[in-house]
Each structure stands twice: as structure tokens, then as C-alpha cells.
Symmetry: C2
Subunit: 289 residues, 2 copies
């Protein structure tokens, strides 16, 4: 089974479990709409790849960790798109959740996805109960008010912001959780050594996102371009130019790969990261470097 | 240390921990505003009382369970008060979170409190790791899209609603979690036997809330009265009259007390529930029965 098939299957099972437990039908529809069809599922793919490199021995726990991370990512997109934040009309090539299902169900879908992600972990830890607390701590921190996605979004409400702190919590934290949770789900006792890989790839992803925001094809990326300028957000391509930004992206990916700790599957993992990182930008943009 | 002191101390420690981990200052202020000063803290008090009755042996785990439940309750109040739902101006005697801190920080404060509640449990389970998964499942389910608070709020978006399903998920679920989590935190292997106590008290609390909504003193309850009629919600006092509603409340409390399972501290617990239930309505309303 490919990583993508595993992830879609695990996400589908999570949502079906919520629905069969009595979920009100309109909320169930909003939840499905928020999660399917997905984007590149880059965070859960990363989580699976790191678990595999660490000699994965509890596939359902890895699936739960990967799904929890993707559900939290979906939750953050739904809430960030709300009228009081970005008021985004489009997401993943279709109307945003609040445009399609109303603001009330968008707020609740985000809340439900957060809760569901922690429930998933608790249910999946039955064969490896000693891995539950570390996994919860890694994933919880990555979305927390202290150093996680919620903090990142809240920095947008402050008048003085450290750019690196903003990006580290808004993007880097969940990528770091993906690598560390992959390792922890596979029984690695020191998941912290996997942080650098996740943070580096998160930063690379942010640069790619900045490039796409200025030079991407709105039909391909599923959302309008030029949003960073409209919303007054920092953008690496505006600062460094196209070739400077692409160079920065390549350096970040190289640094991330160099940070991969010794482990049974390190060589395979390096190959996967090289391949995946080529998918961050469409070929015609990479050629512009 | 009284139960109230314990709860306030545990809640304060949770919020301080988030702040010291880099929480943006405006979000930290909104979080504090959402949690302090609290209401009656009835759910965490119930959680502590049940843990005590079950021979509590891990006080920090009980504190975490009680705090998690209260933080989830606070999160639900903040999100329910949002303009797209009740658009409530006042809560606990002061402007609601979105009125005082803006809608963006209200959305984020709710999200942050949900995340924080699960983090708390993971951190506190260090001495009783085998109790973590059951606690997470009990508490997660009580706020879930299937049968928890999120489902309860989402039933308000449906055109056809079963009243008992609505109230069970919107109010009963978190009360049931309070009793079951109290038992699970104390090592009780069958926390489900504590569900009836929580559900019965949750229903009694809902009836008291209905009475206060029609006959309470807005200054004492901290929010305007007559909201149920304004928002087209069911109300037990409108259906049964004042004395009928008070009779129903008393029957529910009696049934809840009768459901208390055999345990070392059953007699003390019964006395606590009798005392606490007298606080559900002010004396002058009870006298009207």
C-alpha cells in the first residue's frame, strides 16, 4: 500500500468513526468537505517516512499520528480562512468551508477536528501504551498557544512580531511534529533528534508557498495568488527575488537532509525527501532558478 | 486545601505554563480572561469529589482531569458566544471574550483551550501512564463531534433535532465526563458505572439553567435573562411552570444520588451532591417550589 493510500484510508476511517457515533449530518458533511479531497498531505507523508526509517513496528499507531497531524492541519486551514481572519473564498480549488457550509459549521468543524486528532491517538495506542504520552506531547505542543499553530496565528494579532518566531510556530511546528511523531510512533526514545529535519522542511515549504503566492498558477494551487501582499505578510520571494528564493529553498532542503540522524532507513529516507522536495514547486518554476 | 482552591491553583498553573512557553501576549490575556474569574466550577468540583470517593491516589492526575474538563467548558462558552452563534455580549458578569478581545482572539482562545486540555492530561499521566488512554477517551468523547459538546452545538444548525440528544451532548456529556474521569483518574477500572451520576446532574443543571434564564437575577447569573425565548430554544420552566420545573430538578438530583455506585466514599459523596445541588438555584427560587 502506498503512503498516500494509507493516509487516505486512515483519514477516512477517522471521519467515519465520528459519523457512526452520532455526528449531526450537517457537521459530518462539513468535516468531510474540510478533509477530502486533500492537498499534498505532505505532513502525514513525512510522518510515515520517518516512522519507516525508524523501523516502524506499530503501523496503526503511525497511521493515527499521521492522521492526527493532517486533521490538525485541516483544522487550522478552516479556522484561518474564517471571515475574521483571512476571509478566504477559495481553498484547495473549491469554496472554503465557511463559504460552502456557513460560518457556524466552519468553527465547529475546526473544533471537531482538533478533538478528533487527540481521540485518534488515544484509541490507537492500545498496543504501545508507553508511546502515547510522548506522542501527545509532541503533537499537542505543535498546535499549542505557546509554540504551535495557534500561537502562529495569534502572532498575526500582535503589532510587534518576530518573523522567525511567527514562521516557526505557524509552519515549522507541525512539520517538526510530523518527523518527531513518526519517530515516537516507531518507538524511538529520542524523537527530539528528528526536530531539525521537520523544521528545515517546514521552512523550505514556507519559501515554496511564498514563491507560489507570487508566481504560481491559481488553478493549480487551488487558491488565489498575491494574498501575502494583500494581507501585509512577509514573503521570501519579494525579499530575495525568484532565483534567490529558489536558491534558499534548495539550501534548506539540503540542510534538512544533512540533519537526518543515523537510523536503519536513513538512505531510503534521504531519497524520499529529495523526491518529495522536487514536488514543492512545479517544473517550470524550478527551471527559473 | 478546599476543592475550589485546588481547582483554581491547577487552572492557574496550566495557563502559566502556556504563557511561559512563548504564548503571544494578546492571546495570553484572552486566555486568562476566558478562564478567570470562573463560574461555579461545578464540573471540576464533581470530578474531584468522585475521585475522592474512589480512593484518589494520584492527585496531580485528578487535578489535570478536572482542569481539562473546565478548560473545555470555557472553550465551549467562548465559541458559543461568538457572533455567528449566540452573539452574546455578556458572560460571567463581564463582556464576552470576543467583545473584550476581538473575534480573532476569541476563536484562537477556544482552540488553544481545547489543545491545552489534552496536553495537561499527557503531562500529568507520568505516574499512572496506564490511566492516560481511558481518560483521554472519556474526555475526548465528551467534547467530540459524535456525542459531545461540539455535536450539541452542531445540532443547533440542523432543522430537525431530538431534544434529548441535543441536551445529552450539549450539557450531559461533559458532566458525565466529570464523574467518569474522576473515577478513571483514581484508578477505577470501570468508569462507565459513574456515567448515570454525571448525566443525571447534567440534566438537573440544565433545568436549573432554564429556570434562571426565566426567573433569575441577571446581575447574579452574569448574563441576560430570556435568551432561550430569544434564540428559540427549549426551556423546562416554560414547559412545566416554576414549581413543575423545580420538582423535576429535585427528582433528577435524587435519581443521580441513587445511582452512585458502591465505593469507599459513597456516603461522603452523597452528602456533597446534596449540598452542591442546593447551590443550583438561589434560596428565593427554591422557596417557590
Amino acid at each position: 500500500m502506498t503512503a498516500t493510500t494509507r493516509i487516505e484510508k486512515a483519514l477516512k476511517a477517522s471521519l467515519e468513526s465520528a459519523e457512526s457515533n452520532g455526528c449531526p449530518p450537517l457537521l459530518a458533511a462539513a468535516l468531510n468537505y474540510a478533509v477530502f479531497p486533500g492537498g499534498a498531505r505532505i505532513r502525514p507523508r513525512l510522518c510515515l517516512a520517518v516512522a519507516h526509517a525508524n523501523g516502524e513496528d506499530d503501523a496503526s499507531l503511525t497511521d493515527a499520528a499521521a492522521s492526527a497531524i493532517e486533521l490538525l492541519h485541516c483544522a487550522s486551514l478552516v479556522h484561518d480562512d474564517l471571515p475574521c481572519f483571512d476571509n478566504a473564498a477559495m481553498r484547495r480549488g473549491k469554496p472554503s468551508v465557511h463559504r460552502a457550509h456557513g460560518e457556524r459549521l466552519a468553527v465547529l468543524a475546526g473544533d471537531a477536528l482538533i478533538v478528533m486528532s487527540f481521540q485518534l491517538l488515544a484509541e490507537a495506542a492500545v498496543n504501545s501504551p508507553q508511546r502515547l504520552a510522548p506522542l501527545l506531547q509532541i503533537i499537542g505542543r505543535s498546535v499549542s498557544a505557546g509554540a504551535g499553530i495557534v500561537a502562529g496565528q495569534a502572532w498575526e494579532c500582535e503589532s510587534r512580531v518576530s518573523l522567525s518566531q511567527y514562521q516557526r510556530s505557524k509552519t515549522g511546528a507541525l512539520f517538526a511534529a510530523a518527523t518527531m511523531a513518526g519517530a515516537a510512533a516507531a518507538g524511538c526514545g529520542q524523537p527530539e533528534v528528528w526536530r531539525a529535519l521537520g523544521e528545515g522542511l517546514g521552512e523550505a515549504y514556507q519559501v515554496a508557498d511564498d514563491i507560489l503566492d507570487m508566481a504560481g498558477n491559481p488553478l493549480e494551487i487551488g487558491k488565489p495568488i498575491g494574498r501575502d501582499a494583500d494581507l501585509g505578510r512577509p514573503n521570501a520571494m519579494r525579499e530575495l527575488g525568484m532565483s534567490g528564493a529558489i536558491q534558499r529553498l534548495e539550501n534548506l532542503v539540503a540542510g534538512a537532509i544533512a540533519s537526518i540522524p543515523d537510523c536503519p532507513g536513513a538512505a531510503d529516507l534521504r531519497a524520499i525527501i529529495v523526491m518529495e522536495s522536487q514536488g514543492l514547486l512545479p517544473k517550470e518554476l524550478r527551471a527559473a532558478a
